[in-house]
């Protein structure tokens, strides 16, 4: 391919990609749900950045037994917990765990899922069969059980929680990737790519995957919502991040003992988990409509 031709296709794809993103953004902006979702998510990310810069680990683990169980007040907007620590700071600090889990576990699920899914979809035959059987096996093990066992083996910290939740989502991504690759593969432009002598792998990752990206992005955002919830569930059962670190699921689990007269301990972390999952779900829907508008009509 002479350089001139290459620049030509690059420019065209550049131009082509530009306005596609722009078009998606324009459609996204008009969808009220997606905008609300985006605002909430940005607010949470801002909170996380604020907590990274201004809230130190000591500050949220220092214990003063004087004002324990203080109800929400001006000084402590979310009240204080059983060890007199400011719940708001702890929740803000905890946002990094939930965000990490949301993005991280989906990243793991997506990368592994797409890789195997697209190979299964593209090559078919016994490769497809093998990978699909593995996916069946992984999906027949209940997600929480898998998560529990992984956290027990690797130990309870953020990375392992990420892996535990991510692994549970791999089967879903494999199927999704395979389905979209199968539909894309049947189109002509893949045949033409093969005709000009592209290698199989290059075809997969330059032609097939980009075009089957939109359903994957939609599943990814929806999956973020579910992984935030399953991470919180695992911590609630005691298989997540350990106590002093204020992970939202663990906060709720800890607050169970004081439900009777300090319900705010359970109320606010749950609210934030809900907001996070709500934002991801809304964004997922908004993206789904923005990426393939015919669904919207």
């Amino acid at each position: 391919m002479s350089s001139k031709v290459k620049t030509q296709s690059m420019i065209s794809s550049q131009y082509q990609r530009e306005n596609q993103l722009l078009a998606v953004w324009k459609r996204l902006r008009t969808n009220p749900g997606a905008v609300v979702g985006l605002i909430i998510l940005c607010a949470l990310i801002l909170i996380m950045v604020y907590s990274v810069l201004f809230i130190s680990y000591e500050e949220i683990t220092v214990i003063n037994s004087k004002n324990r169980f203080a109800p929400p007040s001006a000084e402590y907007p979310f009240g204080t917990d059983e060890m007199g620590r400011d719940l708001m700071k702890r929740i803000f600090y905890g946002s990094r765990y939930s965000l990490a889990v949301a993005f991280g576990s989906v990243f793991i699920g997506m990368v592994v899922g797409i890789f195997f899914g697209s190979i299964a979809g593209f090559f078919g035959g016994w490769v497809d069969n093998l990978i699909m059987r593995i996916a069946d096996i992984m999906s027949s093990i209940p997600g929480t059980l898998l998560g529990m066992v992984i956290v027990t083996i690797l130990g309870a910290n953020l990375i392992n929680l990420l892996i535990a939740v991510g692994v549970a989502s791999i089967a879903g991504f494999i199927r999704m990737a395979r389905a979209s690759v199968l539909t894309v593969k049947s189109n002509e432009y893949v045949e033409s790519a093969r005709a000009i002598g592209m290698s199989e792998l290059r075809i997969i990752f330059t032609q097939v995957v980009p075009n089957s990206l939109s359903p994957l992005i939609v599943t990814a955002t929806a999956r973020m919502a579910t992984s935030v919830l399953s991470a919180a569930g695992l911590s609630f059962l005691g298989f997540g991040i350990t106590a002093p670190k204020p992970e939202w699921g663990a906060l709720i689990s800890g607050s169970r003992a004081f439900l009777n007269y300090a319900p705010h301990l359970c109320y606010f972390p749950g609210l934030f988990i809900m907001l996070m999952a709500f934002a991801c779900a809304l964004l997922g829907d908004g993206l789904r409509d923005a990426l393939d508008p015919k669904l919207k009509k």
Binding site: E58, T61, V62, I63, S65, R68, F69, A70, P71, P72, E82, M83, T152, G155, A156, G238, T242, A243, P244, R256, A257, F258, L259, N260, Y261, A262, P263, H264, Y267
Partner: protein, 525 residues
Amino acid sequence: MKKIICMLLCLVLCVGLFAACGEKQPAPSPTATPTVSTPPSGPTELEYYDELSLYILDKVAIIDAFNPGAQSTANGIYGHMLYDTLVYCNLDNEYVPCLATEWSSEDNKTFNFKLREGVKYHNGETFTADDIAFTIDKAKDAPGTHIYDRFNQVESYEIVNEYEINLTLRSVNVDFIFDISQPIAPILNREAYENDPEKGPWVGTGPFYLDKLVPNDSLTLVAFEDYWGEKPLCKKFVMRHIAEETARLIMLENDEFTFCDIGSVYIPQFENNPKFVIYSYVMNNLNYIAFNMRKPITGDKNFRMAVAHTIDREAILDIALDGYGEIAETGALWGYKTAYKNMDLPLIERDLDKAKEYLEKSIYNGETIEITASLPHTINSAQVIMAQLSEIGINTELNRLDAPSMASATAYDNNDTDIVVGSGAWTPMASSCRSFLTPGHNSNKAVYDNPEIVQLIEEAAATSDGPDREALYYRIQEILADDIPYLGTFHMALYIGAQKGAGGAAYFPTNYHDYALAYRIKNPQ
């Protein structure tokens, strides 16, 4: 129409949520001292409830004294009711005749027991010496059970006649009578076991027999008519396990539980509530901080002294248990109010400057110390300890393990933890010292290996009661106070909420409570 339903639904939900965090009950004042209410006056001819119910901490999946999978503190509780032991040890540690009317031993090695006649098992069989022989034989090949720990020390037995038996121990043990007086050493029936392996183990000579067992959920016991001893004051006794604390407190409030443990946090709520009575007792479990003597940093005495001078026991107790418990009174590492406790050993008080001095002298320079804990209240106290240690610059990280991981992580040979925050039942008996202080035992979380201590413990186990045994124990406590492999923090106080007019339960520091004579008066004053 459907629109209205939707709106109604979310309205109710929001109102409900706000109502939840609207009302406030008085937060507990940490300094309130626990008032121990005296049980109501002796029962004149009053009416009693027929059915009582109790919350038990453990899930009972199967009842079989010889099954290692069925061991838990609940064994003791239903043990008191289903079975009898040879000797009964009451609250003041006096030995009361039970299945054995008399017992004697010259050298604390061979014991002679005269047995009670006319005692019936639940399946109608009569109790004879042969049942003791059967129980000992079966116990000796069931390691991993409580009954094994009690009867494995019996080397041989000799049945003199139907109602008399001599037991010979492997080695002298002063505390043998105490050991077999525990409810976890019942005498079971041979015939019952042989012809019904599943329901056989339920058969005992106790005041109740087991009517129904729903695995991992509940036990239903019914009063046994021809019980040889004092008849129970209720017809039916249900024991239930409820996992969620809030749920069981609600059930206590709605009179679905007659007796139920209440967390220290909820005591004020039940304390000044006329509908309830609170019983409390202090467990002889000592909550401790164990330093891994084999690892460099925690093995360094200066580091341990620095930690000893930093921890503030009052604050730990306040946060972990809302102040409901007793701080370790002396430097001695011993059970709460247990015999042979050296009360005048000095307790190391909190002194941050001294702590910093020791820290300089120690080889510690900033490494992260891993604090391992497993039980819920130990995790809370670990967090408080971590906060206090950070005041003098020791960085720590909490490693929470579940029970099996804790057991394997702190196994004696490959214990890799730095500090373990735990709690252990410390009885005056040589066996419990042995399990905490001698090498090879799993409870020895400090991996403490001091030949002098081992030698002293063997001596104490052999000497009969009296001053020389006390001197040996004092000597052990002095060495421990100097070496500080363990640092005692506090003793937990446990509280049992009961409906007004309910009582008659004996609360033992070993947690094996005796509800055999529990009752509930119909309309208390």
